[in-house]
């Protein structure tokens, strides 16, 4: 049975790969609920003390608060920019279109480390560095590219005749965009927002360079982390992971059925 040997090997590998991928998450969740001061064995019993300490201390929760202001705002602005541009790129041809598309993907390829140094220099000149506004401004440009990619994917599935029919029936261009294109693109818009939000939520290095005392969550976690091992980090990690899972489920339910559907005839 040679056939089963290969398939068995593949499944064995897959099991090992999943174990590797999930090991940190399991450790994070397990030791957020264990009394051990330093994560390790033997386990010392279940407790919620790290969660209590996390909320008592408040630093990381405050940072989570900052992130929950910056990331939704940045994701919303990025998604609006991406929808407008995605519509225009889908419908119009113009000189320099390829160049523009290339330019838009550059923020993905240029490492955030380099952008962080650049942003810092420019923002310091206009006295904006060290604020949450600075983080917001820089995150928008970073997350517009992935948002645009998803919205373009969705809009490319829209039959051209749909909009033309709206015009023929007397809709103005604006009405067609609002009543026909926007509803069609909605799943793409939601998916783009969620992806943009996730990227902004997790972004570290740019926020490290441009944020001051109002740290975002990854920066605050890093500050705690370089100082000492603190099991409260397990607690905040578990909370953040639970939030991400909610986003992931939302993404799966709302988005993927639309995006992998064949183009409407």
């Amino acid at each position: 049975m040679k056939r089963n040997a290969w398939i068995g090997l593949g499944r064995l590998w897959l099991g090992l790969a999943y174990a590797f991928m999930f090991l940190p998450l399991v450790v994070l969740i397990l030791f957020s609920l264990q009394a051990n001061r330093f994560p390790g064995f033997p386990l010392q019993g279940w407790t919620l003390q790290w969660y209590a300490r996390l909320f008592d201390d408040g630093t990381l929760i405050a940072a989570l608060g900052h992130t929950m202001i910056v990331s939704p705002a940045a994701a919303s602005v990025a998604t609006i920019i991406a929808f407008l541009a995605g519509y225009a790129l889908n419908r119009f041809t113009f000189p320099g279109k390829t160049a523009l598309l290339g330019l838009v993907t550059l923020p993905i390829i240029i490492p955030p480390l380099i952008l962080g140094v650049g942003f810092l220099g420019l923002l310091a000149r206009i006295h904006l560095s060290g604020t949450l506004l600075a983080v917001f401004l820089t995150h928008v440009v970073l997350i517009t590219a992935p948002a645009l990619a998803i919205i373009q994917l969705r809009l490319s599935q829209m039959p051209k005749a749909l909009e033309e029919a709206a015009w023929d029936l007397g809709a103005s261009e604006w009405q067609a965009v609002r009543r026909v294109v926007l509803p069609f693109a909605l799943p793409g818009i939601l998916g783009a927002w969620l992806l943009a939000f996730t990227f902004s939520f997790d972004e570290f290095i740019i926020a490290w360079f441009v944020s001051g005392f109002d740290q975002t969550l990854p920066v605050a976690i890093y500050s705690v982390l370089v100082a000492a091992i603190d099991p409260s980090l397990n607690a905040i990690g578990t909370i953040v992971f639970a939030m991400s899972c909610a986003v992931l489920i939302a993404l799966e339910v709302l988005l993927i059925p639309y995006l992998i559907r064949k183009p409407d005839a």
Binding site: R3, W6, L25, F92, P107, G121, I205, F209, G237
Partner: protein
């Protein structure tokens, strides 16, 4: 009468994107290139055009501040990480595509990329607690009565583990899509004509996924070169590798800035990184196009 390609909407809808990219992306990037030529006078950055920073960096490139060694360390770590991560992701993508029943594949793929949705800094922290001297693995070994210790924390091996874990979900998606696009009819035909499974892999699947592999590999190199977090948290700043106890270049940029706040020099260092990456990217694209041409022939 409206024509599809001519409308005031065209300019209006593109303007926000173009303005934002111009002001918040191109401007900082060009500014970065320019600041690299400024110099410091009485603790203030003074605009101008001097080669002071570059002269300073290159005069002690392999001595003193050892930026050159850090760059070599980065290239070594990034290169090996890219190979490891691509191999791991490719094996996983192949297992997903060929060892999982089709109706379960989407769920299996989604499951594999779950870690991508958790915070990178926190994942590194978790790896720190797993790998550290008295951490999860070593305390388990001790419980099992073994005196042997698994010591990789604060070496570049740990840096690579963190990076591979970060890169794997993204690479798995890229490689799964690339494996999936291989025509199954070709595989069946090869089997019918008497190829063993191993021959199907070496003569058909592997050559046809070369383009995806090079894309994934280049992406991994770029991300690893630009990442400072894994090197700082798992590599301990200056982690041991076969090149010696050296920080990666990205770690060095970060610590150089936080210790000296010399923005012109940091900008010059970042510019050097851009040049190295563009070179790496050009090499990657050239290889990928060559691979594609070979396949299409």
């Amino acid at each position: 009468m409206k024509t599809p390609n001519d409308s005031p909407i065209k300019l209006l809808f593109l303007a926000p994107l173009v303005i934002w990219i111009g002001v918040m992306f191109l401007a900082p990037l060009l500014f970065l290139l320019w600041v690299g030529f400024w110099h410091i006078e009485a603790y203030r950055a003074v605009p101008g055009f001097s080669l002071t920073n570059y002269a300073e960096i290159f005069s002690s490139f392999f001595t003193g501040s050892r930026y050159g060694w850090a760059l070599l360390q980065s290239l070594w770590v990034a290169g090996t990480t890219a190979i490891l991560a691509t191999a791991f992701a490719y094996a996983t993508a192949l297992a997903l595509a060929f060892a999982v029943p089709p109706r379960l594949q989407r769920a299996a793929l989604l499951f594999a990329i779950v870690p991508f949705w958790s915070s990178y800094v926190l994942r590194l922290y978790a790896w720190q607690t797993i790998l550290s001297g008295n951490g999860v693995i070593n305390s388990l070994l001790k419980q099992a009565g073994l005196s042997w210790k698994f010591e990789v924390i604060y070496t570049q091996i740990a840096t690579r583990i963190g990076l591979v874990h970060y890169l794997a979900p993204i690479l798995i998606v890229i490689l799964y899509v690339s494996v999936l696009s291989i025509d199954r009819v070709l595989i069946e035909a090869a089997r019918e004509l008497g190829c063993t499974r191993w021959q199907v892999f070496t003569r058909l699947i592997f050559p046809l996924s070369r383009f995806g592999l090079l894309t994934a590999g280049s992406f991994a190199v770029i991300v690893s070169l630009g990442d400072a977090l894994s090197g700082n948290l798992l590599g301990g700043g200056a982690g041991q590798s076969i090149l010696g106890k050296l920080p990666t270049y990205a770690s060095m940029i970060m610590s150089d800035y936080s210790s000296a706040t010399n923005l012109p020099r940091t900008s010059a260092l970042a510019t050097i990184l851009i040049v190295v990456m563009v070179a790496a990217l050009v090499a990657g694209v050239a290889l990928a196009t060559a691979a594609r041409r070979k396949v299409s022939q």
